[in-house]
């Protein structure tokens, strides 16, 4: 508790190597105090390792970590005002639930620990389990206890390592709201690791997408989704239709802010000039499935055949095969309009500006295939 700072969390050129393997590779970022920051990335990309370094459970091989002005890099975990909700819960099996939650408070000699711990437990709707032991609770309940145990300390930085993974949808949504409420009320800095993208997008102010120990892109959720900086981000966050195309306008010159590119099938597509990275002629034109409308309402049109339709409740997802074989994913909200049968010929359309454009030098499948360590 001594020597902790309060303020922005700053990682400077942080690298962590385990013997020959580099789990986290030269990460620098600043997380403003009181913001909700999310880390996304495939399994094994270094998310947990990054959190562990912030918590002090792991020493960076290179680099420094500051909270406010204080360099906490070599502070012991118990000297940092940082708490973690562990991916594996790590509840103390010999202590009952209330004592688990009160652990940090009592460690800091908080006289009011009883009331505070009970409150935190009530918050996660587990007030009635205070006297039980961890093994008597279901996985979801244990996860909520872990959450309460960390929250109750009101740390400067709260690290959440997939804190809601074991909860069912309803409960997860409700906990998300609680977390968000606490965060904005108390002004804690949250760093949240999750594999629920919707969770990251709705909750976080800023999201960092990690890949192989590095940060691929760091932005607010909307930018990340609508202007992914790489095919990896485009594919990892939501679904993307990537069409290979060549810029055909002379010198990439724009007409009314629009540039024409040509697909392999010799369809011309108009894209926003501002989206086109300068100096590149071979591009991926990326269109999100929900931007593709069935019908010819948009200016860019492609024809194809429906090969698959699946109902997901809110929406229906179609696969549409283009004449040259490429399959596009199309999502259509179930707002009452009729569903298309498989085999139907359809026109897909969208307007210029709804796309994003990436350099064709990048691998179109990055982030879409399985990526085992």
């Amino acid at each position: 508790m001594s020597g902790h700072g309060s303020g922005d969390l700053r990682l400077s050129s942080v690298t962590k190597s385990f013997e020959s393997f580099t789990a986290v590779d030269d990460i620098s970022l600043t997380i403003p105090q009181g913001s909700f920051f999310a880390l996304l990335g495939p399994s094994g990309c270094g998310k947990t390792t990054t959190l562990r370094m912030v918590a002090g459970l792991e020493q960076p091989t290179i680099g420094t970590i500051h909270i406010g002005d204080a360099d906490v890099t070599s502070l012991k975990p118990y000297q940092r005002n940082v708490n973690t909700v562990f991916q594996s819960y790590a509840l103390f099996p010999h202590l009952n639930i209330i004592d688990n939650v009160a652990f940090g408070l009592r460690q800091r000699k908080d006289g009011d620990w009883k009331r505070k711990a009970q409150e935190a437990l009530d918050l996660v709707e587990l007030g009635h389990t205070a006297k039980k032991k961890p093994p008597q609770l279901s996985g979801g309940m244990q996860q909520r206890v872990a959450l309460a145990r960390a929250l109750v300390n009101r740390p400067d930085v709260l690290l959440l390592d997939e804190p809601l993974g074991a909860l069912d949808l309803k409960l997860r949504r409700q906990m998300q709201i609680e977390l968000k409420r606490i965060q904005s009320e108390v002004g804690l800095t949250f760093i949240h690791v999750t594999h629920d993208q919707e969770e990251a997008m709705t909750m976080a102010d800023t999201i960092a997408v990690m890949n192989g120990g590095r940060i691929e892109q760091l932005a607010d959720p909307a930018t990340l989704y609508e202007k992914p900086a790489s095919t990896f981000v485009a594919n990892f966050l939501g679904q993307s239709n990537l069409l290979p195309a060549e810029v055909v306008s002379e010198g990439g010159a724009a007409e009314n802010g629009v540039v024409t590119v040509r697909t392999r099938d010799h369809d011309d597509i108009a894209v926003a000039a501002e989206h086109l990275p300068p100096g590149i002629r071979s591009v991926w034109v990326g269109v999100r499935p929900e931007k593709l409308r069935i019908g010819d309402a948009g200016r860019n049109r492609l024809r194809g055949v429906v090969t698959d339709a699946s109902f997901t409740g809110v929406a229906t997802q179609y696969l549409v095969r283009l004449p040259w074989g490429k399959e596009l994913v199309v999502v259509q909200q179930n707002d009452g309009s009729g569903r298309l049968p498989v085999g139907e010929n359809v026109t897909l359309s969208w307007d210029p500006g709804q796309e994003f454009i990436l350099d064709q030098a990048q691998d179109a499948d990055a982030g879409a295939e399985i990526d085992d360590e």
Binding site: S12, V14, T64, S74
Partner: protein, 308 residues
């Protein structure tokens, strides 16, 4: 910034990692070094001396003692290993179901049963072993009970069977190798049951369900899942049983006969009666060396080095 970044050594952690284990070890190991290693070193030196108790000994590096000792007493040494081995197998056969029973089937009685396993120690083992004489002896409890149940034929049948497999004389239970092995088994059962229990209690029964879901009958679930997972407990238990049982001789003295002499008896007699200290020391050193070798190989083979 990157200059500053490079300069982040975690020196304090390194240092702590180095001295902590030694600090933890120090008091215990010091104790062992002073009160075990020093006497053991002098024991080894004793085994290499010549002379006698009345005129004194000199260190002559006489290895011949070892040759003599092993040449003369290898049968007793071998017998000790065999009896201890048999007892270990029996403690395992009996201890495993008991440990399982206590761990998974005894409900609230668990702690009481655990104490019942260890509580006999509080009644001196000498009295308990003498009680076995009362039970196994002529006209003893067993014979009387079997007689009352008209099962004397069964008892005699068993005695004859023991005679056939060289574990008995064919006409009695007491004072036979069978009685010695049974006594060893009895005396060392708690040493087997406790570590087994500790292991089995932690065993994840869901794995047994998974095996059964994958077509394993109870027998093959045991062989392919439960047994391999209990190995650390089995190894600890067999070591705690086998090692002391090899050097034990009270069971042989009280329940055995002149045909069941174990190496501990020989060492005892050489030490206390013949006063041939070098021979006794040589036999002790040989026994210890044998056991350590055996344990090392065994633990390696069982692949549980880290667990024991």
């Amino acid at each position: 910034m990157s200059d500053a970044a490079v300069a982040v050594p975690p020196p304090r952690r390194r240092v702590r990692r180095n001295w902590v284990p030694y600090a933890l070890l120090a008091p215990g190991l010091l104790w062992l070094v002073v009160f075990f290693v020093v006497p053991t070193v002098s024991l080894v030196s004793q085994s290499l001396q010549t002379g006698d108790v009345f005129n004194g000994y000199t260190l002559t590096w006489n290895v011949q003692t070892y040759v003599d000792a092993l040449g003369t007493y290898w049968p007793q040494l071998l017998r000790s290993l065999v009896y201890a081995g048999l007892a270990t197998v029996f403690t395992l056969l009996l201890g495993y179901p008991l440990a399982w029973f206590i761990a998974h089937r005894s409900g609230r009685l668990k702690n009481v049963l655990l104490v019942l396993v260890i509580a006999p120690f509080f009644t001196s083992f000498l009295i308990r072993t003498l009680a076995w004489q009362t039970i196994l002896g002529n006209g003893g409890l067993l014979e009387t009970t079997m007689g009352a149940l008209h099962l004397t034929w069964l008892l005699h049948g068993f005695e004859s069977f023991l005679g056939l497999v060289n574990l008995g004389t064919g006409n009695q239970l007491l004072y036979t190798p069978f009685a010695v092995v049974a006594g060893l088994t009895y005396n060392f059962l708690p040493f087997m049951v406790l570590p087994l229990y500790a292991n089995i209690e932690r065993l994840d029964l869901r794995l047994v369900e998974a095996a059964s879901d994958l077509y394993a009958t109870p027998a093959s679930a045991f062989r392919r899942v439960i047994w391999p997972l209990s190995l650390p407990g089995v190894v600890a238990g067999t070591l705690l049983t086998f090692i002391p049982a090899t050097g034990d001789y009270i069971n042989s003295v009280l329940l055995g006969s002149t045909q069941t002499v174990m190496i501990g008896q020989v060492i005892d007699s050489q030490f206390l009666r013949v006063l041939n200290y070098p021979l006794a020391a040589a036999l002790s050193v040989a026994l210890m060396a044998l056991i350590i070798t055996f344990v090392t190989v065994y633990v390696r083979r069982a692949g549980t080095e880290e667990l024991v």
